[in-house]
């Protein structure tokens, strides 16, 4: 059974339609990246899957039941890290556990382990204002993963970072989130190929226009090289060409 099943999904904001009859499935442990021009409904799809908005039409089934806000099977990383500035890094990550009624002692231990896993174990008592953009990204990732979700939704999580930090996190991401299925929204073709098993391209009116295999299955040390290999370059070119075509359709 797939972890996520989207059937005939459409969504409109008033008169403006952003998704049209979209269907997709994500298998357990699979990573899918969504590319598309602005306004094609990529972020809307993530919000629909997270249960934060209700679709105009269609059905979303998550781990066998309908999508709803706050389900522990789903973790989401927003484009802005949305760390609470009045809480330390550790307490930002304990928050989902505190809300679920876990004791602070247990929550602290679990959150510290999640932060260590994403390479932010040295930041526990720091304020979000004191850490770098990359560290904030790692903290937001740890917060999304602290409830060990089956599906991780990533909405351009590294878009605001500098190129070097972003490249490093793109290289690390498949290993950081290992075990969870992921649905990544991005504008970056290379990022999509590096972190996903499948890359889907959404057209301007929110239909899947193209599907290209990603490079996630390749060992991390060889992934960048694979991206620059003739085959990787060909996949990038196909995606760039299709992106250009749907953006100007």
């Amino acid at each position: 059974m797939p972890i996520l099943q989207v059937e005939g999904l459409s969504h409109s904001y008033g008169e403006r339609r952003v998704l049209r009859n979209l269907s997709l499935e994500i298998a357990v442990g699979e990573s899918v990246a969504l590319l598309g021009p602005n306004g094609s409904g990529k972020s809307t799809l993530l919000r629909l899957v997270a249960g934060l908005i209700t679709p105009t039409a269609g059905r979303i089934t998550l781990a066998g039941s309908a999508a709803a806000a706050g389900r522990s099977e789903v973790g989401i990383v927003f484009q802005e890290t949305r760390l609470l500035p009045w809480r330390t890094v550790l307490r930002n990550v304990t928050l989902p556990l505190e809300l679920a009624g876990e004791s602070l002692v247990t929550a602290r231990a679990t959150a510290a382990a999640a932060l260590t896993r994403v390479g932010a174990g040295g930041l526990l008592d720091r304020s979000p204002a004191e850490i770098s953009g990359g560290e904030r990204g790692r903290t937001a990732l740890a917060r999304a993963m602290v409830r060990t979700p089956s599906l991780l939704l990533l909405d351009e999580p590294f878009a605001a970072l500098d190129a070097i930090t972003r490249a490093r996190l793109d290289d690390e991401l498949p290993e950081l989130v290992a075990g969870a299925s992921t649905l990544l929204v991005t504008h970056d073709v290379a990022e999509a190929l590096l972190v996903a098993d499948r890359v889907l391209l959404l057209s301007a009116d929110g239909e899947i226009a193209l599907e290209v295999p990603g490079l996630r299955g390749i060992p991390s040390a060889e992934r960048r090289a694979a991206l620059l290999s003739p085959e990787g370059a060909a996949r990038q070119m196909r995606l760039y060409a299709a992106l250009d075509s749907v953006a100007h359709a």
């Binding site: 934060l52 706050g70 927003f78 609470l84 009045w86 989902p96 809300l99």
Partner: protein, 250 residues
């Protein structure tokens, strides 16, 4: 450089006092019109030494503390309720504004009629005058929390109450405290106005005594100085709370 900027207000105050002292002597202004700062200082010390000031200070501080806390708590409650509920806001806001637009001096006699000339009426005046700034600042701060933060709270399963406790109130802290700063000084105004409506002791009563039956202008000014000290202390207390809570990143 920082020490110099900290000293500047004191230097300005010393210069103003010196000019006042000098001006009063040079222009030979009678003491019952405008006493010199040195005369006020001596009268201030005398009023403390003979117990006059303390006798009148205690009731005023009590009214400011009880009335301010009551008004602040009610303002917080109103502000949070109205900040969370659009329909409550539409129903209650016009009445809140109307109540605030009515001069507190006009409401005073009604409060004395209902609550008597004792502590209760003065506390009520203080509470009413402090309620509005706290309610409005809380309403705005709680209502206008960043939409992204609220979406985050929904995504991690927060209930309405948890969102209030973990996101809205901490995010609204500085807005609420800005209202509390205004309320702290208004509480002193409320206490003085309340005392003018009747009573036997309080800094407001002492103002009337010094101006009227005692005809003691230096005492009048010493009392004004004492009222200012109470106001600045109340304001300083809110600032202290603001500093202590801002350091507490949990």
């Amino acid at each position: 450089m920082r020490r110099l900027s900290q000293l500047t207000p004191l230097v300005v105050a010393a210069l103003l006092l010196a000019a006042w002292e000098f001006g009063v002597h040079v222009a030979a202004i009678p003491q019952f019109i405008l006493p010199a700062p040195s005369v006020i200082a001596v009268r201030f010390a005398e009023a403390w030494a003979d117990g006059t000031m303390l006798r009148h200070l205690v009731p005023t501080v009590t009214e400011v503390t009880v009335g301010g806390l009551l008004g602040g708590a009610l303002g917080l409650l109103f502000g949070v309720t109205l900040g969370l509920s659009g329909s409550a806001r539409r129903v209650v806001s016009p009445y809140l504004v109307a109540a605030q637009s009515t001069p507190i001096l006009a409401l005073g006699p009604v409060l004395v009629l209902w609550l008597g000339p004792g502590l209760a009426a003065k506390v009520a005046v203080c509470a009413l005058i402090t309620l509005f700034p706290v309610a409005i600042s809380t309403l705005v701060a709680v209502r206008d929390v960043d939409a992204g933060t609220l979406e985050l709270m929904r995504s991690i399963g927060a209930t309405r109450w948890q969102t209030l406790r973990y996101a809205r109130l901490p995010a609204a802290r500085s807005g609420i405290l800005a209202g509390a700063r205004v309320a702290a000084t208004l509480a002193v105004v409320g206490a003085i106005v309340g005392e003018w409506l009747g009573g036997t002791a309080g800094l407001g009563i002492l103002l009337n005594l010094a101006r009227g039956s005692l005809f003691d202008t230096p005492l009048l000014f010493a009392d004004l100085l004492q009222i200012a000290i109470v106001g600045v202390s109340a304001y300083g207390l809110v600032l202290l709370i603001e500093r202590v809570t801002s350091r507490r990143i949990a």
